[in-house]
Symmetry: C2
Subunit: 349 residues, 2 copies
DNA sequence: ATTAGCACTCAAAAGATTCGAGTGCTAATA
DNA sequence: TATTAGCACTCGAATCTTTTGAGTGCTAAT
């Protein structure tokens, strides 16, 4: 059933007990406590012996002589791996169900981050899906007044992009019509990436090289299409970290909160997560394992979600190492389902 | 020159010296320090006498017997009022210069908040201007595919709103043309507020009551126009408060940072500031004066800015009471000028 | 009106003491 | 051989004590 981790059954049980207890209390746990409050009826002395062994093996640590033990990163890792194994079945079911709709998405994701933070009591982040592989669905230029044209571009997933273009001279109605026709027939269905300089040059030719204005407008359109919206990241519950004393000496608190405020560092987390898609999109970074150095004293759990057509985003939960991994994994799953449900029903809210 | 604040010249100088010193050090300042490090050559004893008076008058406070004095809120208030008086001239010059353009504004405001935070070492917020009094400049419906219409609405200040509308049946090209014509001729130039249910009802009549689809589309358009985008607030430098120990016991730090994260509370600050437009749009809240209760141990300085046509926003700086008011006022001024300059030159970046 | 002088206060820093949870080891036990 | 009881020992944390020094208010002299 459970894989062999090279430890006696009893050692495993004891290790698990230590971690569980430490997750709850945040205090080092001693042999006496375990002896009293676990099923395996063993005296504290026996447990001490086992603990000494576990310490030698590097799974637990004594913060100082005559203190109880706390899990090491290696200990957490073992624990999480075991959990993952148990949950594997559920995890497989939970993913890849999101719908292809993206209108008003920001509000929803913001809300998602918030809900997750409230439920878990950890800090959370949700990255908006990036859509570089997206395709163009509709494009239209409209004359607003003599000097201004507005370009509206709809991409797959109903992502809408806008651009006001200042033009020196009026384009004229027929020109505009022709241009719109041309743009739609040529570009519709093309992937954003495929619309390169060559394509634009050809467009200019077809539209008639004579007009400086048209050239200018086309450039603006091309630019707008390609504007890689910098990765939007929504965060919530950053202040939850104040609930965990081990993270809240001035120094650490400042660093972590700063990371959440500036968000720059979080993008690394996103790219990292999206890159290494093991474990069915669920990733657990413990302590030093995390790609974000300011979080070396935390655990970070990330999940990817996908809204069809390669639009992937990341959900992340950041908390202390003594994170309630079980609950976190469950919450992530629920969130994904919820997101899916809300999204299918009413994409506009 | 300086108005009479009901204090002897010497008391004023001493009070000022106390505050200045306390602003720098954050430590209570004693009589000896003042005696040594000020121009007015007075013995510590004399200064003690004056300080006793100032304390009786409520301008300074002794945190405990045998400590130096720190400014009371009343003391700060006096100090700031004097500063304001000095700066009045400059302040008058600095406002109401912003340009009527709002494309990509969010990025710029975000940046502004950041710059301000870096310069002052305090926490900052910038609210995006709200434009309820705005007028409609251009509107257009376009068929994206059989079931979808996209509505594009351009308001004064080039604020663009979008909405995808799902329709049951295709509208048909002529219908769309007629509708667009109708919308533009009727609504152009109207203020957003003026476009009420009556106007929409009349539109429906004119468009021909026969079509259920048209009615549906018009409703969606009306809704989109009125969607009060919830006030966007950009913040930066929240972690700067960690630089001021008097704000950073766990409790306070958590509350303040939370306020910055949730932003909800900050909207109060914005509305309050916009409402009471004294002092040429510059407002200083000291301690309990602030509308946001979580900031009762801080000082909050806010300024309004205006981008033509009633589009007003707020800039705020939140820091300890011992804030460098002089520098803050100056920075606010500079920011406004900068915003203006950047904005005039290149509204798209 | 100003100042020197002095006794007094009190928070903060430094040091001393106590307390107790937890350990490792040894010897007894099953 | 594995487990357990017992005990001396360790050491951080909590508590209490002492010291220190900046700062005060008051009084008397200038």
């Amino acid at each position: 059933m459970t894989a062999d981790y090279g430890l006696s059954e009893r050692k495993l049980v004891i290790l698990q007990a230590i971690i569980k207890n430490y997750l709850e209390t945040g205090e080092p746990v001693g042999s006496r406590t375990l002896s009293k409050y676990t099923e395996l009826n063993l005296s504290s002395a026996t447990i001490r012996n086992e603990m000494a062994d576990l310490e030698d093996l590097g799974y637990i640590i004594q913060p100082h002589t005559s203190a109880g033990r706390i899990p090491s990163d290696k200990g957490y890792r073992l624990y999480v791996d075991m959990l993952m194994e148990d949950k594997e079945q559920e995890i497989i079911e939970m993913r890849d169900k999101m719908l292809e709709k993206a209108d008003k998405m920001d509000k929803m994701l913001k809300q998602a981050a918030k809900v997750l933070a409230t439920n878990t009591n950890y800090a959370t982040m949700v990255s908006a899906p990036i859509n570089s592989r997206n395709t163009l669905k509709f494009i239209q230029l409209s004359q607003v007044d003599e000097n201004q044209v507005v370009a509206v571009i709809v991409l797959g997933g109903n992502v809408i992009k806008n651009k006001m273009i200042d033009v020196g001279e009026s384009l004229g109605n027929e020109n505009l019509l022709k241009l719109n026709m041309l743009l739609n027939t040529t570009l519709n269905g093309m992937s954003v990436e495929a619309i390169n300089l060559g394509v634009i040059a050809r467009l200019k030719e077809q539209a008639g090289i004579h007009s400086e204005v048209i050239s200018q407008v086309l450039d603006a359109v091309a630019e707008t299409i390609h504007v890689e919206e910098d990765m939007e990241i929504y965060t919530s519950g950053a202040t939850n970290i104040f609930k965990y004393p081990e993270l809240t000496d001035k120094q650490s608190a400042q660093e972590i909160i700063h990371a959440f405020e500036e968000k720059q560092q979080l993008t690394e987390l996103v790219t990292e997560t999206l890159a290494s898609e093991d474990n069915h999109g669920i990733q657990v970074y413990i302590g030093d394992e995390t790609p974000v150095k300011t979080m070396k004293d935390c655990s970070v759990v990330t999940a990817t979600y996908e809204l069809g057509e390669g639009m992937k985003g990341t959900i992340g939960i950041i908390g202390p190492k003594r994170m309630d991994y079980e609950n976190v994994l469950k919450s992530l799953k629920i969130l994904q389902t919820e997101l899916d449900a809300i999204y299918k029903k009413d994409p506009d809210t």
